[in-house]
Symmetry: C3
């Protein structure tokens, strides 16, 4: 018998087992189920496949390289600096043309600073000309003194420019004075101009060269149009409507699109984000994979407190005089920092995500059927009857030969839960 | 009766309900179903578990720190600069050794620029020596003039170096000339050498120190081998075959592996990406978690138009003479920018993704059964018969006592859809 | 008949089909199934919904802008540099206040380097004062020579500072000497101080301004408190317990929290990561979306080999003397690089992930039922009986009129696999 039994066992492996269904001739639940099915189908086709392109394998880890190049000159004529022309090497920091670049639009210059001692009055309002001898109200509190002992020698001035020498410098007849400090002297004066020095930077242009590569699909593309018309690339200016693929941007336009006012930002400084988004459907032609630019202000303009507005930093140019002594020009630079941020996604048809999305849609159908079952078995009038039909009670105590009578029709009246 | 009913209800909660199956003794569909099952199992085990390591929890948000350090000196002897030695502080910009660094390989120096007036002839071909007095053909169109009124005072030259003074400078006897500009004078001349100045940068080396940390698993690793043999780390040079874990790279090698030609790139500039990929299976020993390097050219070399090839930028060194007047040396630097990009993924066994992946595999089996059902019920010869067996029609109008005769065997001939 | 049949077909579309279940009155399996169901429910509610917030749509692609500003001055008095005050423009590199900044804490200055010839003894221990004329043991091997032919003219010294001139410079009476090189002379001497020059940088503060934006939800926030109390923002210092939302950090604290020792790191250099994490539940009030700071040391401190510890780089300041000859001051800067890294995640209720997570939970229930089926059908005593009930064998050879007797009760004893 062993051999026969094994053969039967093997053959039975290829019997197909399929769930037994009960057809409930209840049109209400039937319509409900079809509605649920159609909703899921609509969601699957409309959202998952058409909108989210669920049939595609995606790559979001793009490799990107950004090269930026500014163009433009500005002429200024101030009492402090005289006639001066500013070109790219003067106002772009750092000069390398990376994805983050800063355009200096305003500056406070403190020339000829040397290591020496001088009064710590910097960073305050300039001495009032009407009442000479009176210090500005917002001067550095830690540097105020009445006598020498207020200026402890060797201690750095909090939020100041130097180390106290131990002397209190007072104007004649005045009781309060300022500590003398060892610092780069003279210290910087806070005398911010009311107008940006390089307001004409609004007309400067920046050429942004961005090439991206999706390693998974070995696909490369550049934001510069592959065109024969080289003069177009030299003369065009980006605008979303007319020149969406021109890589040259006017700074003033960028700031305006980001919702800022160039002259205001030029005075106080700020940070602008230039997002380049690549959203490529590689099932289509490569020429349909194009960058989309958007602009936003990254520093919080709305913040009221002066401590958190604007963007500036200090740097110095170092010189050495004939005697070999170092001196420097300190520059507090205000300006606009541009951060070019690239992100992207490429998709291409792939069988695996397609199958996974279809299966999860079918699993969702199972959830729909479960919901309709609840309605059929517990919420409608004849649910008791359907419960009896759906659930077939078997008792292990019944012998095989007797199992048929208990087969069907007997429903337990208390099956509350079909879960 | 209430108490008994509640007790029965409570007990019935622990009745186990299981779907009723119909065994169709149809070997064709049976074999089909087994094939589908095996395919899904193979996909689950082979792809999801073995290839994609679906039993692991992954962390892709790695923290990375890159320190780079270049070594090498180059000697040049040109008519313009004389004998000159270039070391790291001269040719690496910026000097900080961050993940993006630039090696200057070629340069155009315009020394001793001062704020003054001069003709705007810069950025053109040098004046033709055969026909003195004739301007280069590619000179700046906006700076060409025939009389003073062509040079509107105070207007910046488009794509030029300065602001027009209102004078048109002409050679004797010539009708056309160039506007005079206020600028950093003399303006830069376009006289690109045919050969890179620092071609020997090909032999420079860069030491890349990269340490990564996967915060989710508290796992840290460095690309520098934990070896006692310090002299190995000083003398080794990376090569994929022989020294895959040596952190010192020869620049010429990097460019070659990225598919470039060093001498060509040194002349025009370019951008090279150095990808470091960490793909760590933390279920294995930490020593098996090693970096993998790859190299690619990031600027689009294939682009034909001159506007989009190469990499260069301008910067200036500022000096002050004895009279306190600033002057500068303008340098247009060509060279290779290297972007070190680190990404990685670590995985470790975790029960939750394991369960999720197994369940989604089982859900997939449900989809397979659905597909086989379609075949059984609508595509094979006896589908009518199986449809009758699978679907049991019940009518709510039938009384409980009468429900048995309608139980089975009656199939509606028009059940087209088993969905 | 056609019209009637079509009508019946159409109506049958709205019959509701529901799986037929067998109730097994087996308490063991019933309890098991309920336990499995409860576990899945607990997992779904507890883990997926409460912990992982599975009902939310998430956005991880945040736009971030970081502005940093250092404050503090240090006074040093060394034999080499004399009395000198260091301020922000002196010790912060680069000065722009970006997300990566370097604070110089120690330096080796080599002033007045000029293009000339000199012995290549740089980067070695200083000549031993007890035994004058003897070279340091760790001098550059490639620069050692016994006669002129050891110094091949025009060849760069490996790991050295210049190009050999072909002369071997020997001290009187000594047999071994050093090659003469053309380089920036004098070459740098390795004489690292035992104490960091700017150890007081421990008290410097850095103000970190970080504004983030989640583009998907159009939500912006800043790490600087929207407070009226401006003086709080000027005087507070971050600490996790007392001032978790103060944006001003003391450098010494940062290093300590990262597990480092400031004075040690100031001597050798190092890299510190400042992570800012935004984990925002936008279903709650915006004021509950706050940054969380963490600090870690990014360069591998534990690495023993000297080649991989610390952080330093070389840069030069260029000067021009009265004769127009360039000279420079070479600075080897040691210090701490701070990398501010921002990442974040925002979540907001969305119906689609909610549905998907519920469905996948239900699919998991299917997997649980499958597991209980296995127990019921193959592992318990009466599994044979249940197998017969669950599986209803039908034979296609049986005629429709005869199908009823084979309907039920006949179980094949060899159905091993219910899969």
């Amino acid at each position: 018998m062993g051999q026969v039994a094994w053969k039967a066992l093997f053959l039975s492996l290829f019997d197909y087992k399929t769930e037994k269904y009960v057809i409930a001739k209840n049109k209400k639940v039937g319509v409900l189920y079809r509605v649920v099915q159609l909703s899921i189908l609509a969601y699957l086709v409309g959202w998952v496949f058409v909108v989210k392109k669920g049939y595609q394998d995606t790559d979001t880890s793009l490799q990107s390289s950004v090269i930026t190049k500014l163009k433009g000159v500005a002429f200024t004529n101030t009492s402090e600096l005289g006639e001066r022309l500013w070109d790219v090497a003067d106002y772009v920091i750092p000069p390398q043309g990376e994805s983050v670049f800063f355009v200096m639009t305003n500056l406070i210059v403190t020339p000829n600073q040397r290591q020496a001692t001088c009064p710590e009055v910097g960073r305050t309002e300039p001495l009032d000309s009407q009442t000479p001898g009176k210090l500005g109200s917002s001067s550095i509190p830690d540097a105020l003194c009445e006598e020498d002992t207020d200026c402890q020698e060797g201690k750095a001035v909090v939020a100041g420019n130097g180390v106290k020498t131990g002397r209190c410098l007072k104007d004649r007849g005045s009781t309060r004075g300022t500590c003398e400090v060892l610092a780069w002297c003279p210290v910087e004066k806070r005398s911010k101009p009311k107008k940006p020095l390089l307001g004409s930077a609004e007309n400067f242009t920046v050429y942004i060269k961005n090439s991206v590569r999706f390693p998974k699909f070995k696909f490369s593309k550049m934001n510069v149009l592959a065109t024969d018309n080289e003069s177009y690339l030299k003369s065009c200016r980006y605008s979303q409507e007319h020149h969406p693929y021109c890589p040259i941007f006017v700074l003033g336009d960028i700031v305006r699109w980001a919702g800022g006012n160039f002259q205001e930002m030029a005075l106080q400084g700020g940070v602008i984000g230039i997002q380049i988004e690549w959203n490529c459907d590689l099932d289509k032609a490569p020429s349909e994979c194009n960058p989309h630019y958007s602009f936003s202000r990254l520093d919080n303009k709305s913040a009221e407190s002066s401590i958190s507005s604007g963007y500036n930093f200090r740097f110095a140019k170092y010189y050495r005089d004939a005697e070999g002594v170092d001196y420097r020009t300190l520059i507090k630079a205000y300006g606009i920092r541009f951060d070019v941020m690239v992100n992207g996604k490429a998709g291409k048809f792939n069988i695996i995500p397609t199958i996974i999305n279809i299966s999860s849609g079918l699993a969702l159908m199972g959830a729909g059927a479960f919901f309709c079952d609840l309605v059929l078995l517990y919420l409608i009038k004849k649910s008791n009857f359907y419960r009896g039909k759906k659930y077939e009670e078997v008792k292990s105590s019944s012998r095989k030969s007797l199992s048929s009578p208990t087969l069907n029709g007997n429903q337990s009246p208390d099956q509350l839960d079909g879960l």
